[in-house]
Amino acid sequence: YRLFPGEPKWKKNTLTYRVSKYTSSLSHAEVDKAVEMGLKAWSNAAPLNFVRANTGEADIMISFETGDHGDSYPFDGPRGTLAHAFAPGEGLGGDTHFDNAEKWTMGTNGFNLFTVAAHEFGHALGLGHSTDPSALMYPTYKYQSPFGFHLPKDDIKGIQKLYGPRKSGAEGPKVPQNPPTNPSGPSNPDHCDATSSFDAVTMLGKELLFFRDRFFWRRQAQLTTNVWPNTITGSFPQLMGNVDAAYEVAERGVAYFFKGPHYWVTRGFQMQGSPRTISDFGFSRKVQHIDAAVHLNDEKKTLFFVGDEYYSYDEAKMRMEKDYPKGVDEEFTGIKGKIDAAVEVNGFIYFFSGPKAYKYDREKEDVVNIVKASSWIGC
């Protein structure tokens, strides 16, 4: 890593930031999310806090600019220079500019805004460019997925040279090297086994739960740190293990867990009564288990995936919709292989198939991003 000459840094740990000018290639909400995650990449590693301002002057003013925009570092149109930021200091110090002529994206079809923003905020905090090709602060663009993003070691060393490590107690969440000893004895799953998928994934309140064999991982929806395996029997004794599918109807505060021809209803982690049969949903007798389920909050529908077909269940009318099952590939192009699990987050459907997770954009009717499934649990 490298610091700027004179090693300028912020003399305070709480910094304000404000997006003063947006780009037309992403929604304001998407820009805000990418900026928030870009800043969090650094506050996870150093005792820094970022507070968003909506008006007036902030320490880190963020804007999308075109060509010559008055700071003697004009942008050059598509590609070439993507963005720049100024070292800590008054006025222009810390300010971060993105070239509005670029194709900004939240995925991989263009320049990923999270990737570039996280890099630029390294400058705004006092880091220069690193000569380590694996570092975030390396000068040339290399896509980083915000899900499961971990600051590379070189960058951690640089930012902690300036601001020290996070204080103990407010310890930035860490994934423990050895998951806690599992009371049921047998060895824990390989936390980061990049070859396997998940049996089921669901939101549960503000958390995301990932099930695999006899274990499950839980994490904050927006955070991938602080994630380690728990035994299913420890929290869902009746389920034992090998859950087939799960989904939550947040509106009603209930979640459904499926295993073979049975399902359980819970409120949070509390089981509501004994198991029932999936024929309650209107499945024919030939369906003896489901592979995946995902509840679509806006439509109030739940999609059930069985082999290469899928069903749509109307939660409001409490019955299966007509004209189903349909072929999965009729509707969801771009997903390779059987669907093992599915979950809706921020309006996107994430399909887990084998070791991959596919981000499906229903407006674009296309997959917009593919990552390792294990990256969702911080790997």
């Binding site: 590609r79 993507l82 720049h84 220069g128 090709p133 000068p139 040339t140 663009y141």
Partner: protein, 84 residues
């Protein structure tokens, strides 16, 4: 001047201009008299190419070889590598 012709042996004019612009942006101390730099263009640009090659872990030949020019064409951050 000789260095410039040496450079051209390994590249075309377009690459030379890309390199010149790249080095101006990322390896030149802003505020220095560019004209001064230009007067000693050959040795200065060779030196800057070596600096850039060293930064990116390339063979520091001072020549505008294929690897060097392809790094220069990659999308990147606008902050200079030689921080100023």
């Amino acid at each position: 001047a000789p260095a410039m012709y040496a450079l051209l042996k390994t590249s075309n004019w377009r690459d030379f201009h890309i390199a010149q612009e790249y080095l101006d942006k990322y390896y030149m101390q802003k505020g220095k008299h560019q004209v001064g730099e230009m007067a000693t263009g050959g040795s200065s640009i060779t030196r800057k190419i070596r600096e850039m090659q060293a930064f990116f872990g390339l063979q520091a030949t001072g020549n505008l070889d294929y690897n060097t020019i392809s790094v220069m064409k990659r999308p990147r951050c606008g902050v200079p590598d030689m921080a100023n």
